[in-house]
């Protein structure tokens, strides 16, 4: 009896694996097509004209900072250095208990001013508003602690421009990030309501930007190298394809451009979720599709920023555990969209894909591991069968990863050849070196979701080399 049950479970897990692999492979093909189109489009675009034209739509860029004294100055400097005709930078200090506000005050020569802002969203109390004597387009809002969503809502109250760009405080930006993000919006602002673009990850984002394209390094730390691959895969194999299929369901918090009136219409960022980025994307899709409105949320292939990667196992698990929780919260919250034709590809492909590959995946993976182990122990499967199955999974996964690396390299030609060789060789080991950590983090996240835990568990910033 137990053998029959185990056989069924193992076969079920393998069928699940096959199904998700087929889905991922399909996305890789769609992603390849979309990447090629976007690459050509980007190369034939006229960034020099966009950068100087008064018809390029102004953008309010905002960043929430909670205990970011180590990184905030470099992040704000990279935002102020953006090559864009007109943009303002709004930094919201979310009641930091460290010296974040003091760092900002001295670095940017801030002066307090009373600024009367719109109260579109209720937020925690604003203590003071500062303007910079040296950067007229910088506004710093010091407020009581209320979380990231609350801070971004505060920034929305202050924002003056029609498009807003929410970014993370631990991220460094390509000088052309906004131009790359807005180049398509400028062509069709009525339909394009949201944009994100390709991000990379590094232990020290500033240092990674110091090297010119083609000479940039991929972090030597194994965890960070695998996170780099994870990001490349997530963008080139998934989000680019989702964008093509019109179910771009996650604009990451590190770089998300929205039309401000859309955010106002859907009620801004929601503090009741663990994290706000994926939830707001789901909410906007839900609203626009329910009302039958024509819109697009895009993911582009241009690399716009490098975000800080946790370099220790503990921090990595804490981050991924939180990501898993917010995915669970969001996908379950918007369950009315699952398999619902009213929500078009979002309901028929996007939400079910999330359900299959993110929400229930940790349970399936755990079940597969346990049942395979037990099946070997009971002699139902030969150890060779397990070895071949694991190797097949590892190389299938590596093949998908190499596709993403290929698209990334075709797009950016950013990294050194020897670093590319290294990540290509690391790819097959992903299954045994990196995935178990991800599985642990995802199981932990799922467990915390079931317990209703909504804490942020912010990871400690890496120690960076002095500038």
């Amino acid at each position: 009896m137990i053998e029959t049950v185990l056989s069924v479970v193992v076969l079920g897990c393998l069928a699940y694996l096959l199904l998700t692999t087929v889905f991922y492979a399909t996305l890789v093909v769609v992603g390849a097509f979309e990447s090629t189109v976007r690459r050509h489009e980007s190369r034939s675009d006229d960034f020099a004209t966009l950068a100087t034209s008064r018809f390029t739509i102004p953008v309010s860029v905002f960043v929430a900072a909670y205990n970011e004294e180590r990184v905030i100055e470099s992040t704000v400097r990279s935002l102020l250095a953006l090559d864009y005709p007109e943009h303002e930078v709004i930094v919201v200090n979310d009641g930091s208990s460290d010296a974040t506000i003091d760092v900002l005050r001295s670095a940017f020569e801030l002066e307090p001013y009373e600024v009367f802002v719109r109260r579109v969203f209720a937020t925690s109390e604003v203590r003071a508003v500062y303007r910079s004597r040296v950067h007229p387009n910088l506004v710093v809002v010091d407020k009581e602690n209320g979380g990231k969503a609350d801070s971004w809502n505060t920034a929305l109250n202050v924002a003056r421009f029609r498009y807003v760009c929410g970014v993370d405080a631990d991220t460094c930006f390509d000088p052309q990030a906004l131009l790359k993000g807005m180049r398509l919006v400028v062509q069709d602002p009525a339909r394009i309501i949201g944009v994100t673009s390709h991000l990379t990850t590094s232990r020290d984002p500033e240092a990674s930007f110091a090297a010119p394209p083609g000479r940039r390094r991929i972090d030597r730390n194994l965890f960070v190298a695998y996170q780099h691959l994870d990001f490349v895969r997530a963008f080139f194999n998934n989000r680019i394809a989702w964008s093509r299929l019109r179910f771009m369901l996650c604009s990451p918090g590190a770089f998300q451009i929205w039309r401000r009136d859309v955010l106002e219409e859907v009620g801004g960022y929601d503090s009741s979720f663990t994290c706000e980025d994926i939830e707001v994307t789901f909410r906007i899709h839900e609203r626009f599709l329910r009302e039958g409105r024509d819109y697009e949320i895009l993911c582009l292939t241009d690399n716009v920023a490098t975000t800080e990667a946790p370099s220790s196992l503990r921090n990595l698990v804490a981050q991924r555990e939180r990501w898993q929780r917010v995915i669970d919260e969001t996908v379950v919250h918007y369950r009315r969209m699952w398999f619902n034709p009213r929500y078009k590809t979002v309901g028929l492909l996007g939400a079910p894909f999330y359900l299959l590959s993110e929400v229930i995946a940790p349970a399936f993976e755990l079940l597969a591991l346990l049942s395979l182990g037990l099946a070997i122990a009971l002699g139902l499967f030969e150890p060779w069968t397990l070895a071949v199955t694991v190797a097949a999974m590892a190389f299938t996964n590596a093949t998908l990863t190499v596709c993403a690396v290929l698209y990334d390299d075709l797009q950016s030609r950013m990294y050194r050849t020897r670093d590319l060789v290294r990540v290509l060789l690391l790819a097959p080991l992903d299954l045994v070196l990196y995935r178990p950590i991800m599985l642990w983090a995802r199981l932990k996240g799922s467990w915390r979701f079931l317990r209703g835990d909504k804490a942020w568990h912010k990871f400690e910033r890496n120690v960076r080399a002095p500038a």
Partner: protein, 364 residues
């Protein structure tokens, strides 16, 4: 085998053999595994080679100069490629790349070819052709861009951006756009006349009464960079427009055209219903600096709290509050401003003053 599971009775222990079903499952999984492994290993190896070979080839390739001559055979091939209407997306981009190459080489067939590319139903392809026209910048390119703007080929904002960077400037060629039946064309015509202060003034003034509010807004915005009584009167008249975004442009334009004379009227718009009109009025008054002070002081006792705190905010931003706080901290006027702006305005001022060198402020 794990020691604790060795004790579990198994079919193999009882019969000496694993049942046929289980053997079949094991064999199936093994076979599928081997096939998938063989395929994936080959794919991984092949794709890795593609990545590396492609990269090495890219690095060895010389960077292409922005302008270069092409051989006749290559030009012929490129002309053929641009002339064909490709069916695939890939073919369309190859077509654009070929056109760019011919344009860089100043090939004589470009004017003819670009017309056919502009007719491509895909707006992205048309946009690329528009960019190429901006690079060319000759008289015929200007004509084609204006035609594109007229007919709505590609996004009009991109056509406008290209037109604005051209030398020779399109100038008078824009005037017919102001009289077009299509409001979108009139809008762009009015907007593009911004850098030409001597052109089309009377038509622009007439357009401030256009039936389309976007055209009215564009006309008022363009008039904001001009001067004269007629222009001033037209911008002031639009401060009473029924559409809020026209009033936004009118507030800014009136400040620029009429200066201090417009301050009392603009200050009244600090009590506007629409937030963005109030913001535009504040911007305009900030732009007038000390010329706006009398009008702003008059608003400090306005019945509308938005008007009061808006006036106090502008007085703070133009440095009037800091000046008063340094010159006479007990001034009743300063107290009136604090009363209008609230305690936080007082706190912010006091903190700024504490940080400032008094002499620096007096010089300013």
């Amino acid at each position: 085998m794990l020691p604790h599971v060795a004790r579990i009775p198994r079919s193999r222990d009882a019969t000496g053999e694993v049942s046929d079903d289980h053997v079949r499952v094991d064999a199936l999984v093994f076979r599928v595994g081997v096939v998938v492994l063989a395929l994936s290993l080959s794919a991984w190896t092949l794709l890795s080679l593609v990545v590396l070979v492609g990269r090495v080839r890219y690095e060895r390739r010389r960077p292409a100069p922005s302008s270069r001559k092409i051989r006749a055979r290559e030009a012929e091939r490129l002309v053929r490629r641009v002339s064909r209407r490709p069916r695939t997306e890939w073919g369309r981009w190859r077509r654009i790349a070929a056109l760019t190459r011919l344009e860089q080489a100043h090939h004589p067939a470009v004017p003819r070819l670009i017309r056919s590319v502009l007719a491509d139903p895909d707006p992205r392809i048309a946009t690329s052709a528009i960019r190429t026209l901006g690079d060319i910048g000759d008289e015929w390119a200007i004509d084609l861009l204006i035609r594109a703007l007229h007919k709505g080929i590609g996004p009009r904002s991109r056509v406008a951006a290209e037109l604005e960077r051209l030398a020779p400037a399109p100038g008078e060629k824009l005037l017919p756009l102001l009289r077009d039946w299509n409001p979108a064309v009139r809008f762009w015509g009015a907007t593009l006349l911004g850098p030409y202060p001597d052109l089309g003034e009377s038509t622009l003034i007439a357009l401030t009464w256009d039936s389309d509010p976007n055209v009215r807004a564009a006309a008022v915005e363009t008039l904001g960079s001009r001067s004269g009584d007629g222009v001033g009167a037209a911008t002031l008249a639009r401060l009473g427009d029924s559409e809020w975004f026209v009033r936004v442009h009118a507030a800014r334009a009136a400040g620029q055209v009429l200066g201090a004379a417009a301050a009392p009227t603009i200050a009244q718009h600090l009590s506007e219903e629409r937030w963005w009109v109030r913001t535009a009025a504040k911007d305009a008054l900030r732009g007038l600096s000390t010329d706006a002070v009398p009008s702003l002081l008059a608003m400090l006792t306005h019945e509308d709290p938005f008007a009061r705190n808006g006036a106090a905010e502008v007085l703070q931003d133009i440095g009037f509050v800091d000046f008063l706080a340094l010159d006479d901290p007990s001034s009743p006027l300063l107290e009136r401003i604090y009363a209008a702006g609230g305690e936080r305005l007082r706190d912010a001022t006091e903190q700024r003053i504490a940080d400032l060198d008094e002499r620096e402020v007096r010089v300013a």
